[in-house]
């Protein structure tokens, strides 16, 4: 097999081809960067509260139980659209109160049900987290997820 190909030729194809695809990849991600900042996300609407909400999200490593836009652990529900699931677009106050109340009653202690720890978040942290979820829900995700169930 591959008698017609010399080792040096194989090496040059590998190096040249990889460099080519790397350049294309970087160019496309550079364009994607521009697209994210200007088109698909509310970059200008990254308020201090949304940024703080992202920090709360990270500090408690929510991603190791939940998914966010489908990435993360698969132990808890998807949260990229949790704002929509709580009816946020129609009733922002109700959704905010609902999400905060849900966080505060954890762990439910219901036998046989997965338990979420109570992270003892302050009211300001909870509000920031909800602002972060609201911001996430407005990302143009090409229509994903297929159902509001996430």
């Amino acid at each position: 097999m591959m008698e017609g190909l010399s080792r040096a030729a194989a090496r040059n194809i590998f190096l040249g081809g990889s460099l080519f695809f790397f350049v294309v990849f970087v160019a496309l991600t550079a364009h994607s960067h521009w697209y994210i900042v200007t088109q698909s996300t509310d970059h200008a609407g990254l308020t201090e509260s949304v940024k703080h909400g992202k920090e709360v999200w990270e500090e408690h490593s929510c991603i190791n139980c939940h998914t966010l836009l489908g990435e993360g652990a698969y132990f808890g529900p998807e949260l990229g659209n949790v704002w929509v699931r709580y009816g946020g677009p129609d009733s922002p106050e109700g959704a905010r109160a609902g999400i905060k109340a849900w966080m505060q009653i954890q762990p439910t202690g219901i036998p046989g049900r997965r338990q979420m720890p109570n992270f003892d978040l302050t009211d300001a942290e909870l509000d920031a987290l909800v602002d972060f979820f609201e911001w996430m829900s407005r990302i143009n995700t090409q229509g994903w997820p297929p159902h509001v169930a996430g």
């Binding site: 496309l28 999200w57 190791n64 997820p145 169930a149």
Partner: protein
């Protein structure tokens, strides 16, 4: 062992396997939580178990790669390791940082991006250790013979370190955060780590089949070429639904569908070389792991990846148990088994013995491999049911999870079997050496 400094690899392999054992224990505990949700829910919540499980995996695989590099470089470059002291120091820093992260996690000290939960100072230590390793290994290559195997291996390791630097960049915009996060995670496991895998495989095949280096190295370039030609733009299959442009759907789908090619080429490569070599190598356990890793990587990374990589399928399967199934078999097949192959091959040399405890080692191979296959099937079935109920029918997440209980019990059983397989492997490697070399191979040349 031809070169004194190859023994540097020994403590690396010991540490790698100890952390491997810890990894599967954390994994089994997390699997138990799926079946008994109250298990340690206060003392060690699920997210702590999971980050311990995934971090240990990455840390031990890297330590295994470091050890493998120190083992093969003297033979490839035909000179001693530049500085064994630096190697030991580098290992100590890496293990200290990894252990500190792991212990910190149990007290809730962690950061938030998955797989990158290590506190910043731990990341800095890991980077320093990695750079010390690269310095040491690169100087070893520079002062000796430069083979395709050592050059491709070093290229893979350098690129792994360079892309790791994105771990220090956390944009406020979550879409950007996710896009660059994949610069590390995808480009490692579906890109530059494949360079490491292919070159380690090439080394094993040269040693165990006796086929000409010229032939092996040509294959090596073709495989790593296929890996990067498909894997770089294949990153696009993570850019479907995170706020990135729609053109990633055709581009990511096309190139990532082709990501199966380098893994298929590795299967052909390994089996063809053993067929062509016709040498009956005395270390049959290492041969088994070597052939096993290409087969399981092909199924885990190649076939299971292909299964849900096209955007119109991924739209429904993204972030379900299908992903978990693929992740488990891909990591096991490609990188866990590769490390175990290298360790099985190198340990007799490092302990100054003929190949030993091979039957036990092969038992551990079959137990671990079949258990991982079973786990993958269980999670795949769970994922198919989940995809249908949740993504097609629109049932809520927790209702759907209740329907998957049986599969999670299967997965837990498979996890326990993996732990047993790992225990057998550790005993086969470090326990008393009993039978050395099978009878059929007693007259065959030992060959490296």
């Amino acid at each position: 062992m031809k070169y004194q400094t190859q023994k540097v690899a020994y403590p690396f392999f010991v540490m790698a396997l100890v952390l491997f054992a810890a990894q599967v224990i954390f994994g089994t505990m997390a699997g138990l939580v799926y079946v008994m949700p109250e298990f340690l829910s206060e003392a060690m919540p699920f997210h702590i178990m999971r980050m311990s499980h995934t971090n240990l995996l990455i840390v031990w695989l890297l330590i295994g790669f470091f050890g493998a590099t120190y083992y093969l470089l003297p033979e490839e470059t035909e000179n001693e390791i530049y500085s064994p002291t630096l190697a030991y120091l580098q290992l100590a820093i890496f293990v200290f940082a990894g252990a500190a992260a792991l212990i910190g996690y149990q007290f809730g000290i962690h950061e938030g991006r998955h797989y990158l939960e290590q506190p910043v100072w731990v990341k800095v230590l890991l980077t320093i250790s990695f750079l010390m390793f690269l310095f040491n290994a690169s100087l070893t290559v520079l002062k000796g013979r430069k083979t395709a195997i050592s050059v491709v291996l070093m290229l893979g390791l350098w690129l792994a370190a360079i892309f790791w630097l994105f771990a220090f960049y956390t944009p406020d915009n979550m879409s950007l955060d996710k896009m660059y996060w994949w610069y590390i995670v995808h480009i490692w496991v579906e890109g530059v780590w494949e360079l490491i895998m292919a070159s380690l495989l090439g080394f094993l095949l040269i040693k165990m089949t006796g086929v000409d280096r010229e032939v092996i190295e040509k294959w090596l370039y073709v495989i790593v070429g296929l890996a990067l030609f498909t894997g770089l733009l294949g990153t696009g299959h993570h850019y479907y639904w995170i706020g990135t442009p729609g053109y990633w759907q055709p581009i990511g789908g096309f190139f990532s569908a082709l990501e199966v090619l380098p893994f298929f080429a590795m299967v052909v490569f390994a089996f063809y070389m053993f067929w062509r070599g016709r040498r009956n190598h005395p270390n049959q356990a290492a041969v088994l792991w070597t052939l096993g890793t290409v087969v399981m990587a092909f199924f885990g990374a190649g076939v299971w990846g292909f299964m849900h990589t096209l955007s119109f399928i991924n739209f429904y399967t993204h972030g379900t148990q299908i992903t978990a199934a693929h992740g488990h078999l891909a990591f096991f097949g490609a990188y866990v088994m590769l490390n175990l192959a290298i360790i099985s091959y190198a340990m007799p040399h490092l302990r100054g013995m003929q190949p030993y405890n091979q039957i036990l080692n092969m038992w551990s191979f079959w137990i671990m491999t079949s258990a991982m296959a079973f786990m993958t099937f269980a999670l795949t079935f769970a994922g198919v049911v989940q995809t249908h109920l949740q993504r097609v029918m629109g049932m809520s997440f927790m209702e759907v999870q209740d329907q998957l209980q049986l599969f999670y019990v299967f997965r837990l059983g498979a996890g326990i079997a993996v732990v047993i397989g790992v225990a057998l492997f550790l005993y086969a490697m470090f326990g008393p050496a009993r039978t050395q070399v099978p009878a059929s191979a007693a007259q065959a040349p030992a060959g490296g």
